[in-house]
Subunit: 367 residues, 2 copies
């Protein structure tokens, strides 16, 4: 293999696929990145067997071929190369590559590419297009509520469902739940319900934040999901299992409603959390029949009392939250005002936007 | 004590003095910051008994007084206050303070101020003024060579000396040495030689980077050094002991001289260090009687070969350096070109600027 590329293009591709590298894998080759040159295109690819990312780059190919190079070294070296034309030439007998720049060169040992796992082929499946900005917003507003416990895999993913042109994402770790619905009038088919790994979506979100693509093409097959951008493909396994029936946790017997300015609420909760106990992280919200609520907390260092103007209707009550969980839920909201619907001091609390397209549910804690 | 201040002024003062807070001190009060209000001035002060920093702020004082507040909480709370007028009122009986903003308030427990250590008074001593930019440059170019071994305290400081209007700073950890000399024609007296703690100077450098002061007033007494800025005073103990005679380590029998572009050199050493052995961190420099030198390194992952154009005269030789130490020395240099003077493959290497005002000495390592 032999090709010529600029530093910046190559660095972008490597940094993109790096997110799928598995540095601690039992298979050493998975700590590497595949480089495959053909037809004046370079494919740069990494996979940890669950998530695969590949990036397509236009380069000047002098000799086709492929090699796997250790991600740790190749990223650091390419990052520090001068901004000049760089020549890559592999030695297929030694499984090494020579990188030539100016009068200098680096030589890195790699692996034979034929041992590198293939990515699953893109078969026919349920395919739809979605605007990148809508998709990013949906991910941002739900991903915080995914769990991290690998023993309960269904909770580590986001549930995707399309019914009657409504695309719905749901995430829950059982302590909290976030749900967003977007109307997509161009989608005629239905997607019965799949669970996409949170790790995949969090890496995808980072990639989408650094691309210019306006649309993303999504294909769902029996076991995989494919996210196709102009120059980047992301392939992930789906999580198997039955997603819990979340409809019954959405509180219905609302006894108090609060409408509140989101930025005021966030700043007050942030301050109150500074003086919440380091173990329980509890903060207290006092809702009276009046035009403000009080958020308070105390620990050995002192206490904080925050008064925030609200629109309030319903029964007076006191409710305790884990301040970190409450902050996560508030920071995911994308509107100026937020509605809190309370069903009692130890019953689930509903946070929602005015149009109800976004809602999140938070379990209070006991005082 | 009762005063009114804006958030930003107070935050700046607290963040400035925070560098002298001793969070893990056996004396709990030293984890606190002193606030003292009098004459429409607020003094904010912290000390770890070796270094003291105080900041003077114009505030509206309603009632004079003083209190010590735990730095951990007070910094976080003030950082998150709204940008509004803030009222502070202490309760001297409870040793606590109430911070009022909008309709909210925080109450923090503190300590009685009379238990807080006094800073030493500014007695008569050797006093001189120096331009902040020159002083910062001198610190930046030497501080990297100070040691960290508390069992050999003289090596943890920078040696200051003024003789015949030449201000000289020297730092060495015995593996390397950095020395800078500035001509200060306005200083008529002489300073025989003191050792200023590296920690003090590193905090001072951060403070100088965030102030607008053009001059700094330095006073040296028997055991202390005072750095006086417009609104900030920094007081530090001096390190006792005899500074080593460093003159004899400056190499004299030079067998080869190299003139090299600093940025080229730094980039090549940076790349070569990526493939130096993670244990030894050695890189090799080959100097031939030619117009370039070669920097190379290798480890289990591969090898790097860097050719850099130079102006060379003298004997050919191969020399090995610890790449981190070489990088530290190069990054401290403040000129476009650097001169290397070699006295043999295992003898000290001299790095200097053209005017010889700055020099640093680096011990090679054995291959």
């Amino acid at each position: 293999m032999k090709f010529i590329s600029t530093k910046d293009n190559l660095l972008y591709a490597i940094q993109t696929v790096q997110k799928a590298v598995s540095p601690k894998s039992l298979l050493p080759i998975l700590s590497g990145i595949l480089f495959k040159a053909y037809d004046n295109t370079l494919i740069v690819r990494a996979t940890d067997l669950e998530l695969g990312i590949e990036c397509f780059l236009p380069v000047k190919v002098i000799e086709t071929g492929e090699i796997v190079l250790p991600s740790k070294y190749i990223i650091d070296i390419i990052r520090r190369l001068p901004d000049t034309v760089i020549e890559f030439e592999s030695n297929d007998y030694l499984n090494s590559i020579t990188i030539k720049y100016k009068n200098s060169q680096a030589n890195i040992h790699g692996f034979a590419a034929d041992e590198f796992p293939m990515l699953p082929p893109l078969n026919d499946g349920f395919t739809f297009l979605i605007s990148t900005s809508i998709f990013k917003k949906m991910l941002r507003q739900t991903i915080f509520a995914t769990g991290t416990d690998e023993n309960r895999p269904v909770f580590t993913g986001i549930h995707f469902q399309i019914l009657e042109q409504e695309f719905k994402m749901v995430a829950t770790d059982t302590h909290r739940l976030a749900m967003i619905t977007e109307h997509l009038p161009l989608i005629k088919q239905e997607l019965p319900g799949i669970i996409v790994p949170g790790k995949t979506l969090s890496e995808l979100l980072k990639i989408l934040n650094s691309t210019q693509d306006e649309e993303i093409k999504i294909t769902v097959t029996e076991n995989q999901i494919f996210f196709l951008l102009n120059e980047i493909n992301i392939i992930s396994r789906l999580i198997k299992g039955q997603y819990p029936n979340y409809h019954h946790v959405i509180p219905k017997d609302i006894i108090a409603k609060i409408k509140i300015k989101l930025s005021d609420f966030i700043q007050s909760v942030e301050r109150a959390s500074l003086l919440s106990s380091s173990i329980s992280q509890h903060i207290r919200i006092d809702c009276e029949n009046s035009d403000f609520i009080v958020i308070s907390s105390n620990n050995e260092a002192g206490h904080i009392y925050e008064e925030i103007p609200v629109f309030f209707e319903g029964e007076a009550l006191q409710i305790y939250f884990n301040s970190k969980y409450l902050m996560d839920a508030l920071k995911a909201v994308d509107s100026e005002e937020i509605y809190l619907e309370l069903s009692g001091p130890i019953n689930p609390c509903l946070l929602r936007t005015e149009d109800r397209n976004y809602l999140s549910i938070l379990l209070p804690v006991r005082p």
